[in-house]
């Protein structure tokens, strides 16, 4: 049967954000996938170069609506290291609490989206209902459900009151109970097993080869987590374990995320119960000395990297953000090869893609010297010849 190109996007009813898939299919089987990203480029990196260290944090939080704390912490952590600042232990604990609550709400959101993609809308409603408890806790602690605004260079902006800690601890048993149910459901519910098992399989070698990060890599047996392997905040003082799985398919990714949900509740519980007393910030200098750093952070979707270069002023000279979704796209292109067309939504959703976070890469075409939106297709996908005339500005 001849190969057929199925174009999906950039504007398509099934897509939540603009992306262009060119699925090359042979009948029902996918031969390869070509991806066009960067339809949502917002110029955040350039805008960040214009703002001082106080004003840049709210901007960087807005890189992503789900992992807003991740971006702000990765940046603050990097700049503090350049400045040689040691933040107080209480600030480290508060940052950790917010980070893990963020991971919980992100994974609960993902669980709902994945369930929705397989038509299991009951679970979608349940997990989003439970996510509200996490969102309420975040709102009480920070003042907002999405953009917490907790970070500043030198510590955190708000302290946690005993009443807030008590309320958060009171919410945890219910959440733990619910998460335990999800753990059981993922392992026993036929609706999920049938649709997740054996779909989008990726071996450990392939995960390493294509640079997968986060739960996507850990589901293929890659035992790597920035929180443990390059500890930051309070993670080296907390008892917790990295969740890995050897299934390598969407089922494995679900198991890893649900396992991480449980670990996050335990981290939050430990931090709330053992939060040290003391100040929540130290005075930060206005200017940062000349320097450069690659600040790594385990965001809910995987390893997030902020490359920061400072030049002795109160602004960054250059910031480059590598979001986890960008690292995972190549593995999606690989996973889809040989799968059925109907499995596209669930395989794509399995990496928890965030397209707006991804849109900051530009590739300069060698032949024409033109700047074109980035592509993240792997060996199985990218074919420069087929793209020769395909670009439209």
């Amino acid at each position: 049967m001849p190969e057929v190109v199925v174009p999906i996007g950039p504007h398509h009813p099934a897509l939540k954000e603009p992306v262009n898939f060119r699925v090359i299919a042979d009948g029902e089987k996918i031969v390869r996938l070509e991806l066009d990203l960067s339809y949502n480029h917002r110029g955040i990196e350039k805008a960040a170069e214009q703002r001082n260290f106080i004003r840049v944090l709210p901007l960087l939080e807005r890189v992503c609506g789900i992992c807003s704390h991740s971006h702000a912490t990765a940046f603050a952590k990097g700049v503090e290291e350049i400045m040689g600042l040691e933040i107080p232990p209480r600030a480290r604990y508060i940052r950790t609490i917010i980070a893990e609550l963020e991971r919980m709400h992100s994974h609960l959101l993902w669980l709902g989206v994945a369930a929705h993609e397989i038509g299991f809308n009951t679970l979608f409603m349940w997990s989003w209902r439970d996510r509200e408890a996490v969102q309420d806790t975040l709102e009480e602690m920070s003042g907002n459900r999405v953009h917490y605004g907790m970070n500043e260079i030198g510590g955190v902006r708000r302290d946690l009151t005993p009443a807030q800690i008590k309320t958060a601890l009171a919410r945890l048993p219910d959440l733990e109970d619910r998460i335990q149910k999800y753990v059981g459901m993922v392992n026993s519910e036929e609706t999920m097993l049938i649709r997740f098992r054996g779909v989008g399989k990726m071996s450990r070698e392939e995960a390493l080869k294509y640079g997968a990060v986060g739960p996507t890599a850990r589901a293929s047996g890659v035992d790597y987590d920035v929180r443990r392997d390059d500890p930051y905040l309070a993670y080296d003082e907390i008892p917790w374990k990295v969740i890995t799985d050897n299934h390598g398919d969407v089922y494995g990714r679900t198991r890893v995320r649900v396992g991480e949900l449980w670990e996050s509740t335990q981290i939050v519980r430990f931090c709330l119960e053992n939060i040290p007393a003391g100040p929540v910030r130290v005075e930060a200098p206005k200017n940062a000395p000349e320097g450069e750093i690659l600040s790594r952070y385990e965001a809910p979707r995987g390893e997030l990297a902020h490359y920061i270069r400072t030049n002795g002023t109160d602004k960054v000279e250059r910031i480059d953000i590598r979001s986890p979704t960008l690292a995972n796209w190549t593995s999606v292109a690989m996973c889809l090869t040989g799968q059925n067309l109907a499995d596209i939504p669930v395989i794509v959703a399995a990496i928890d893609p965030c397209l707006s976070c991804t849109c900051r890469m530009v590739v300069v075409h060698r032949r024409g010297g033109r700047a074109v939106p980035g592509t993240a297709a792997g060996e199985s996908g990218h074919d420069p010849k087929s793209r020769q005339d395909g670009w439209r500005p």
């Binding site: 106080i54 004003r55 679970l123 009480e140 602690m141 920070s142 953009h147 605004g149 026993s188 519910e189």
Partner: protein, 119 residues
């Protein structure tokens, strides 16, 4: 089976949804809502205007006397916030030396006036 048990349990539980607008979700005391300024405390230092990431605070003329640290000061400026563009980040509140500019614990509300400003 776990799903079935859960579904049956839900039949006998109260609905999670609430009857808005008759019943409203309680707003926590820490909520970052609409910006407000207490004129008697504001010394017109412009700090809020300088730290605002959305650049929506402008200093306008507002001659008045302000008591600050036991002294009466003649001040000329006061902040004006463009509410439609405000992102409720709370940096103005964090950096205000007198606590005059602050975020109220109310939902910002909706409206049709794009030029609504708070002084």
């Amino acid at each position: 089976m776990s799903v079935l048990r859960e579904m049956i349990g839900n039949f006998f539980s109260r609905p999670v949804t609430i009857r808005y607008p008759w019943i409203k979700v309680p707003i926590p005391d820490t909520f970052r809502g609409r910006v407000a300024n207490t004129d008697e405390l504001c010394i017109g230092c412009s700090k809020c205007s300088l730290v605002c990431p959305a650049q929506v605070i402008t200093m306008i003329d507002g001659p008045r006397d302000v008591v600050f640290k036991g002294k009466t000061l003649a001040r000329k400026k006061r902040p004006q916030v463009d509410l439609y563009k405000c992102i409720r980040c709370g940096l103005c509140e964090r950096h205000c030396p007198t606590g005059s500019i602050h975020l109220e614990h109310v939902h910002a509300g909706t409206g049709t006036d794009r030029d609504v400003r708070v002084t």
